[in-house]
Each structure stands twice: as structure tokens, then as C-alpha cells.
């Protein structure tokens, strides 16, 4: 077991290295002048300035030196200071955010995190529950209905679903507005009397004892949660269902049944724990789905998180912001995969011992 985890942790930096190389290569598609223009904050871009930046950041050097500079930073010949360097947290300057990329990412992160936390629980809970119910009622009407729900679910593009939800539940009825907070709530949150412990509005509101703000935050986050969840439900339902069906066919189920256990106990104690092993992998995939879905979902609902920032950046060809976000996400993702692998090993003795 320990050896397995250690092996996985040793592989981690190799994958991260590969990801940075790939991102760096994507950046190389642009010419030195274009890349220099990405670093210049002021709008008037004259030739001299661009040449200076090319020199300053070594954008005309051989590609492997550029990569090392990009990763570790280089010494600025004009001021003698260290500049740049992804590992030093310098991801460049965000043209659309008008601040360094890393600041933009950190400032927007709590909103996305709040959305992800709120979505994760209903996704896993309801998705797995539906999948198990469908498998237990194999080929009965509930199963057919769940199957149809699942197929329709992953045929429904996120942006169509989100816009339809807005049409019905906001434009028509005014129940669930877009954005993150209403104006009045926003003023209270930004006032000094309101302490922002975590920058997660729902949590902060409870910690400050402001139940009205908690409800307002919930009202705004509700539609994004549903939009993020339904696609994952479709996927989870499908995987849980087939895994549970597989597990219900095993000999040990017959054994458990024939020694007189009730149907309920057989399902809950024998079939379900084994069926949930592959679902752990899907839990990791769900994180991927959230990160993917967040770009479109946040854009539609005008939710000020990482996703909407990166969508604006991509459309305005603000490459540094997009790449910074991809790097940020890839690191999160690799971390999540590691956790899933370890979890997998803990759950399944065949992996642990094999």
C-alpha cells in the first residue's frame, strides 16, 4: 500500500512537468512580438517597447532556455530584479482582469470553490442514490425512466440547459436571479462590519449571524448548482447502475441471499459497497466535469468566479490568463486524480495487494 502511494507521488511531478511543457508549447505558437505584447500593460504598443520586452524577458532565446526562464524566472537586465517564473507565482499580466494573473485567480477562486462545494454533495448523493435504485429495480419502470433521464441528461448542452433555466425561473418568475449576491447584500458584505472569514458568502453569512444574506447567496447560487449537477447526475447514475448490476450478479450475493439475509441487507451490506468502488473513479471525473462546466455555467449566470473570468479572457484572446487558469486547473486535477487513486487502493484490496 505504502509503496503504491509512494510510486504515485513520484509520478506526480513528471505529469506536472509534461503539462507545463504542453502549455509552454501552446504559447510558442505566437511569435516573439505577439508574446511580448502579452506582457505590456499599457495599450499603446510601439515597436521600441515591444523590442525592449522581447529583450527583457529573453523571448528571442533558444526554446529550452525560454522554458527555464518561463518556469523559474530570469534576472531583469534593467533593474537587476528577478522577474517572471511560473514557480515564483508569476503567470504574467491579465489584460482582461487588469491585474496579475495570479491575483485574478486567487481573488476569483472562493466564488468557484463555493459553487463546487455546494454542487458536489447533491451530485454524489443523488446520482449514486438514483443509480442504485435503477439497478435494484432493473428493467422496471423506474429503471427505464432513469435511463431515459440519463440519456437526455448528457444530450443537453450546459448552456442550453442554463439559459432555459434562466428563462423559466428568472425571466418569467424572478425567483432565482443571476449574479452572486443582490446589491443590498453586496453592500453589507463589503462593509467593514461584516467579517469575511472564508470569502465563501454562505459560510461567512452564517458566521456573522446574517441569515438574510445566507438566503440571498443561496438564491443566487441555486440555478448554477442545478446546471452543474444535472450532467453529472446523468453520468453517475449510469456508472452506478451498471456497476451495481454487475455486483448483483456475483456469487456472493446468491450466498448472502441463501443464508437467509433480507433483500435489504443483501443490497446495503453486500452489493453496494462493492458497487461503489468504480464510482470512486467517477468522483474524480466529477471534479473534471465541475471544472469544465464551471466556465460555461458561470458565464451564463454571470457568476463572478474563475470560469467566467477565463471565458472573457479566451474570447478577448488574453492568452496568459487562459493558460494561467489551465495550469491552475491541471494541478488541481492531477491532485484530485492522486486522491482518487489512493482512495481506490484503500477501497479495493485487489489494487492494494496487486
Amino acid at each position: 500500500m505504502t509503496a503504491y502511494i509512494i510510486r504515485r507521488i513520484i509520478q506526480l511531478p513528471i505529469t506536472v512537468f509534461g503539462v507545463t511543457v504542453l502549455i509552454f508549447l501552446m504559447l510558442q505558437v505566437l511569435s516573439p512580438a505577439e508574446r511580448a505584447a502579452l506582457y505590456i500593460k499599457d495599450i499603446p504598443k510601439n515597436e521600441n517597447q515591444i523590442d525592449r520586452v522581447i529583450k527583457r524577458y529573453g523571448l528571442d532565446k533558444p526554446i529550452h532556455i525560454q522554458y527555464i526562464n518561463w518556469m523559474f524566472g530570469t534576472t531583469d537586465q534593467e533593474t537587476g530584479q528577478r522577474v517572471g517564473g511560473v514557480l515564483r507565482g508569476d503567470l504574467g499580466y491579465s489584460r482582461t482582469g487588469r491585474e496579475p494573473v495570479i491575483d485574478l485567480l486567487l481573488r476569483r477562486f472562493p466564488a468557484t470553490l463555493e459553487l463546487a462545494i455546494w454542487s458536489f454533495v447533491p451530485i454524489l448523493g443523488i446520482g449514486i442514490w438514483l443509480g442504485i435504485l435503477a439497478a435494484v429495480n432493473h428493467n422496471k419502470w423506474f429503471d427505464q425512466l432513469a435511463r431515459l433521464f440519463s440519456i437526455v441528461g448528457y444530450s443537453f448542452p450546459t448552456f442550453v440547459f442554463g439559459l432555459l433555466a434562466l428563462m423559466l425561473l428568472y425571466a418569467k418568475t424572478g425567483w432565482f436571479p443571476p449574479g452572486r449576491l443582490s446589491d443590498w447584500a453586496n453592500q453589507i458584505v463589503l462593509a467593514p462590519a461584516f467579517v469575511q472569514y472564508t470569502h465563501l458568502n454562505t459560510v461567512d453569512a452564517l458566521l456573522n449571524g446574517r441569515f438574510d444574506i445566507f438566503l440571498d447567496a443561496l438564491r443566487h447560487i441555486f440555478l448554477p448548482i442545478i446546471t452543474l449537477s444535472y450532467l453529472s447526475w446523468a453520468l453517475l447514475l449510469r456508472i452506478t447502475r451498471s456497476s451495481m448490476l454487475e455486483s448483483l450478479r456475483q456469487d456472493y450475493i446468491v450466498t448472502a441471499r441463501s443464508k437467509g439475509l433480507s433483500r435489504r441487507d443483501v443490497i446495503n451490506k453486500h452489493a453496494r459497497p462493492n458497487a461503489l468502488i468504480p464510482v470512486a473513479t467517477v468522483g474524480g471525473l466529477t471534479v473534471v466535469g465541475l471544472l469544465n462546466g464551471v466556465v460555461i455555467t458561470e458565464t451564463i449566470f454571470n457568476y463572478p468566479g474563475l470560469g467566467s473570468a477565463v471565458a472573457v479572457a479566451a474570447v478577448s484572446l488574453d492568452v496568459l490568463t487562459v493558460l494561467g487558469f489551465v495550469l491552475f486547473n491541471a494541478s488541481l486535477l492531477i491532485g484530485a486524480n492522486l486522491v482518487v487513486d489512493v482512495l481506490y487502493a484503500l477501497l479495493d484490496p485487489r489494487v492494494r495487494l496487486g
Binding site: F156, L163, L166, R249, A314
Partner: protein
């Protein structure tokens, strides 16, 4: 469900076991295809899916008749516009200027002699009906292009990896994993954002981006299939008669390994089109006014507060997209059951 045993059903005749005569279908298509076709035709959901896909094929084929272009020599993929006003027009509003020629079916069905905006207009007065009809061609073209190219790359990577093994296998599979470490949509978004200034707007930036981050699954699945096929007796037989690597790979291993991957890949057309529409929706794909469903829906973003009035901007292209995805997924769902070896001969 049709099970594998019954297709090679042995029957006893004159005291000896003989293979049954192949049916007409099997003689025409071969046993594998016949089994797939029979499985599809007996599952009502896949029949529904096939009908939907056929409907879209018909629409794409008949596009010039269903929605005739305004001028014959102009690019038909640019949606004709009825002025430049910002306020969308409701379905049924008449063309105020530059109406396209009337197709022959129009008068008998509607009883009107004036061409109207059948599904309304977006802001900027792009005709939604035209966008949806010609958008079907865009969707099919993009879907087939992306799937075929991804499959081709996956084929090369997967077969090199599996056939040579060892160091090559390790390197190629690590590269595949690195590509998989990116969230798909984001990676495609990034790459197409980078490509737009280089090769201009249009379908190509998104197509290239979707291929660049879409080949990995095929490579991995094919690698697995080739690894098992490689161990089979006919490969050993070919080797003993002195066939060379290339010949063994191309003539013996690939045709036997590629089958299920190809069938499943063809059904990714639906998913690919949904991703392509998402990229267009975010604004990194085609030019404004290009006949493409995601592009048409993206007009709704400016009217979120009054979507109940301008519902047609989202509902019509939305239905097109959902139906398209649903059609392919319904076939796919049925096929997965037919092709899944674990499901063969079981009652699901």
C-alpha cells in the same frame, strides 16, 4: 436480447452438428454487422435515435430547398439578415427587405405568398430558421471531420504503442496522460483562442482544438484491443509464414482490433457537435452570422433579463442541439449494449 450463442446456433441434423445457413442479412453484411444491425432494429430507443439522425441528414441534404440562400453566388453559410436593428423579431414577422426567394413548398403549406421569419430573428436581424437549417450542415461536417481526424491520430498512436510496446509504449502513453490531464473543454477553448489570430475565424480553430484534445480515448482503447488481438493464433500463424511487421499490423491485427472502436467513435459525432457549439457559444469559434447553432444561441446572452419575451432565440436552436445529441446518444446507448462483451448473452 440477441445473444452471441444463438448467432452460431448449432443444430443437430442427421446425427451431426452443422452450422445454420447464414441469413440473407448476414450474407450481405457479414456476421458482425448483421448482429449490430439486428440489435439496433430490435431496440425501440435506438430506432428512435436512428430516425432522428436520418432526419438531420435529410435536412442537411435538402438545405438549399428548405432555406434558399438570398443570392446564388454568395456563401450560403452566412445567415441572411433583415436589417441591423438590435431588437429580435418574433416568429412570423415579415421580411422587411432582402427576403430570400420562395421555395416551392412554402405557399402550399403556409398559404402565404410572402416569406416570413419562421422562427424569428436574433438581435442584428439574423434569420433563426436559416441558421438552424444550414447549421445542420455545419454540425454534420464538424462532427465527421473531428471524429475521423481524432480516430486517425488515435489509430496511429494506439497501434504504434501496442504493437512495439516497451519504450515507445511508455513514452506514448505518458504523452497521452499529459493530454488527458487537461479538462477537455478548457483545453479546446485555449487552443482555439490561440489559433484564431493565426488562421482566422471560422470552423477550423475549434475543429483543430477538438481533435488535439479528443484523440486520447481512441488511442488507449485501440491499444488495449490491439494488445489482445496480437496474442491470437492467426497473428502467430502469419508470423510463422514470414509476414513482416507492417503487413501483420495492417492486414491482420488492425482489421480485427479496430472494429468496436470505430463503431463507438462514430457515435461521438453528437458529443463533438455539442462541444463545438459550446466553443461557438463562448465566442471563440465562427464569425458572427455564420450558420452554426452555438453561434445563434450566443445571441441570447445579451437578453438574459428578457428571455421570456425573446424565448425563440434559445428554444429553437436549443431544440436542434438537444435533438442532435439525443439522436446519436440513443443509438450509442443501444450499440454499447450490443458491443459490450460482458453484456452478451445476458438479459439486460
Amino acid at each position: 436480447m440477441e445473444n452471441a450463442i444463438s448467432t452460431i446456433n448449432l443444430s443437430r441434423r442427421d446425427g451431426a452438428f452443422v452450422l445454420p445457413e447464414p441469413s440473407g442479412l448476414e450474407r450481405l453484411l457479414g456476421p458482425e454487422w448483421a448482429r449490430i444491425l439486428r440489435g439496433l432494429l430490435t431496440n425501440p430507443l435506438s430506432v428512435l435515435g436512428s430516425l432522428i439522425v436520418l432526419l438531420f441528414l435529410a435536412i442537411a441534404f435538402l438545405a438549399p430547398t428548405l432555406a434558399p440562400p438570398v443570392r446564388l453566388n454568395a456563401d450560403p453559410y452566412n445567415i441572411p439578415r433583415d436589417g441591423f436593428g438590435p431588437t429580435p423579431k418574433a416568429p412570423g414577422a415579415e421580411w422587411s427587405r432582402g427576403a430570400p426567394p420562395l421555395p416551392f413548398w412554402y405557399e402550399p403549406i403556409t398559404g402565404k405568398s410572402e416569406w416570413v421569419h419562421l422562427m424569428g430573428t436574433t438581435s442584428g436581424q439574423f434569420d433563426i430558421f436559416y441558421g438552424i437549417i444550414w447549421g445542420t450542415r455545419t454540425a454534420l461536417l464538424v462532427g465527421i471531420l473531428v471524429v475521423a481526424s481524432s480516430l486517425f491520430i488515435g489509430l496511429i498512436v494506439g497501434s504504434l504503442s501496442a504493437f512495439y510496446g516497451g519504450f515507445i509504449d511508455d513514452v506514448l502513453m505518458r504523452i497521452t496522460e499529459i493530454f488527458m490531464a487537461f479538462p477537455f473543454l478548457l483545453a479546446a477553448l485555449t487552443l482555439s483562442a490561440i489559433l484564431v489570430p493565426l488562421i482566422g475565424r471560422g470552423i477550423w480553430p475549434s475543429v483543430i482544438a477538438l481533435v488535439a484534445f479528443g484523440w486520447m480515448t481512441y488511442a488507449r482503447v485501440l491499444r488495449g484491443d490491439i494488445l489482445t488481438t496480437k496474442e491470437r493464433d492467426f497473428v502467430l500463424a502469419a508470423r510463422t509464414v514470414g509476414a513482416q511487421d507492417n503487413r501483420i499490423l495492417i492486414r491482420h491485427v488492425l482489421p480485427n482490433a479496430i472494429f468496436s472502436t470505430m463503431v463507438l467513435a462514430s457515435l461521438d459525432v453528437g458529443a463533438v457537435v455539442l462541444s463545438f457549439a459550446a466553443l461557438s457559444f463562448l465566442g471563440v469559434g465562427t464569425d458572427i452570422g455564420y450558420a452554426d447553432w452555438g453561434q445563434v444561441i450566443s445571441f441570447a446572452r445579451d437578453y438574459i433579463l428578457s428571455l421570456d419575451t425573446y424565448w425563440y432565440i434559445i428554444v429553437f436552436p436549443g431544440i436542434a442541439l438537444v435533438l442532435f445529441g439525443l439522436g446519436w446518444n440513443l443509438i450509442g446507448d443501444g450499440l454499447r449494449d450490443i458491443l459490450d462483451p460482458r453484456m452478451r448473452g445476458k438479459d439486460s
